[in-house]
Amino acid sequence: MDRASHPLLELTRARLMEFIREPEAIFWVFVFPVLLALGLGIAFRSRPAQPLRIAVQQGSGAAVLAEALDRTPELTARLLAPETARNDLRTGKLALVVIPGDSVTYIYDPTRNDSRLARRLVDDAVQRAAGRADPLAVGERHLTEPGSRYIDFLIPGLLGLNLMGSGMWGIGFNIVQARRKRLLKRLLATPMRRSHYLLSFILSRFVFMILEVAALVGFGWLVFDVRVHGSIADLLIVAIVGALAFAGLGLLAASRAQTIEGVSGIMNLVMLPMWIFSGVFFSYANFPDALQPFIQALPLTPLNDALRAVMIDGAPLTGNLARLAVIGGWGIVSFATALRIFRWQ
């Protein structure tokens, strides 16, 4: 009987089968990022600005002042005993405490944004109540930018994070396991082409990459109304380049490791800086300028930027070429290095 089916096809199919029969892998690749998005999306959801909580310390004229302050829409004021007021301020339940008197005193933490804002609002209210007049009339016009919510920022970041995690774990873990069980050696004893074996990982990654993107983007769209402002095709192209880069890195991490512990250590070492620096959960602009060249050189940073450019700004691919080049460069260099130093036995 002649060959029944192509080895690359069979190897890829085996990868897919092994994956979908591993409930833990399904959880980490598909469920975990969605749960993360759900949790963070709820915690940091955009909502009408909550009134700031302040307190007026008990004393003469305190009740009147508290009532006046409470009428200010941006503030909720309560009357509290000095001890309780200090305590609640210290533990962050209050933004500011007012001590009434001939000269009003504000107790607040100037390093807290809500405290500083409360200081201005309270002071405005106190001064106006004392007869201050604003000489200039101002008008207001409110605008909410599409894609400016935290969840709009977060979903592309989680997408990048997921492409990194599942690429590295999915490939690195499986290869080391096959090496440890002497399955790699057994396969080498067949006419199987080594390139087919490695390619099967890349191909199966593509299949899962599409599902991962669909799961997370679909979830964001359905639950938080996160839109993809650019084209879906562009998004997929960016995701493919990203998946390839991290497949290469996963291969590199696993190219010589003999134990699961060994490869886990290597991969955590590689991924942890990107979890923190590459702008997954918050903008990397928060880090000092001196760190920026390093941050820009990490593969996840341009990937997250490119994903955000496509999803939030609707940028065309041509605007992302430099980023794609950095990501692709990581992929090619790590893949080539991995092939060179790969330990088959």
Partner: protein, 310 residues
């Protein structure tokens, strides 16, 4: 008559650091025979086989397989060899059928998955995950993966280690069927019974060298006696062995912890003479058994150690 050579190696050497695993090993395996490498664990059998399979590189020596050479004819050779490695764990979450289909896809020609399933009697397990198979079934599957290509030369490295007697016998039948189709098997084992049952010729390996070579019958005959008389004395005996060597028909005397072993040509002559000699000395027997000499006895005679001692 000239025999066709399936495999030949000369002066094979391999060392790992200070340890010499294979130390100048020569081998010739004929087409259509089942050839056994018999030796204790650590004798260098697996290293030898992996060099022959083209998975390890020898430090020195020459290997010729099915008329080809590693490094030159790899692609052709891989198509024609069937390999079962020691301690390979196949992918746990693939079914038996998927595993065989995967291995089958690597070869240009060979058997269908159904055929191989039947051959190794795993039809009922075709949809079962590899992790759900018993040890014997997993081992049969490992051999099945080596048989999907219908290879000309089959390598089996300790195929029955750790198996129960029934699983072992099933695997033996597989090997005998394979050999009956005129194909060649190279097998390593540390079970002398396995070598005796399956192998046309056996090479006894110790410390990376072949210390004896021949058919099982020839090797046993080389002891110069075909039976072993084994006995123990009631109160022990510290006297020298000289008087035992005087017993008619005794070729060799060996003392071990659990008794004294005599290699003899004819049991019916030596045993009465032994009993008479014991009576003369006033010694009482606590145990007396006899058995046909085995390859184990050959190994012990050559090395003074047992196969299982490692």
């Amino acid at each position: 008559m000239d025999v066709e050579i399936a495999l030949r190696c000369q002066g094979l050497k391999k060392r790992y650091g200070d340890v010499v695993a294979v130390d100048g090993l020569d081998l010739e395996v004929h087409v259509g025979e089942c050839f056994g490498l018999l030796g204790p664990n650590g004798a260098g059998k697996t290293t030898t086989v992996e060099i022959l399979e083209g998975l390890l590189e020898a430090d020195a020596g020459d290997v010729e397989i099915l008329g080809g050479r590693w490094g030159k004819d790899d692609r052709v050779l891989r198509q024609r060899l069937g390999v079962q490695l020691q301690e390979t764990q196949l992918a746990e979450k693939l079914t038996v059928e998927e595993t065989l289909g995967l291995f089958r896809s690597f070869f240009d020609r060979g058997r269908s998955v159904d055929e191989v399933l039947q051959l190794v009697q795993l039809q009922e397990k075709r949809k079962a995950w590899v992790s759900r198979l018993s040890g014997g079934q997993q081992q049969r599957l490992a051999v099945a993966c080596a048989l999907v290509s219908h290879p000309d030369l089959l390598f089996l490295d300790e195929p029955t280690t750790g198996l129960d007697p029934q699983s072992r016998r099933q695997l033996w039948d597989l090997v005998l069927d394979f050999k009956a189709s005129g194909r060649t098997v190279l097998l390593t084992t540390h079970y002398m019974e396995e070598a005796q049952r399956l192998c046309d010729r056996v090479a006894i390996v110790d410390h990376g060298k072949i210390i004896a070579l021949g058919t099982p019958a020839e090797l046993i005959a080389s002891l110069g006696a075909e039976h072993v008389v084994e006995f123990a004395l009631e109160h022990g005996d510290s006297a020298p062995d000289e008087w035992l060597r005087q017993v008619p028909g005794v070729r060799d005397v060996r003392r071990e912890r659990d008794g004294i072993f005599l290699t003899v040509g004819e049991v019916h002559r030596s045993v009465p003479a032994l009993l008479a000699a014991l009576k003369d000395r006033g010694l009482a027997l606590s145990r007396l058994t006899t058995h046909h000499a085995t390859l184990e006895d050959v190994f012990v005679a050559l090395t003074g150690r047992h196969l299982r001692d490692g």
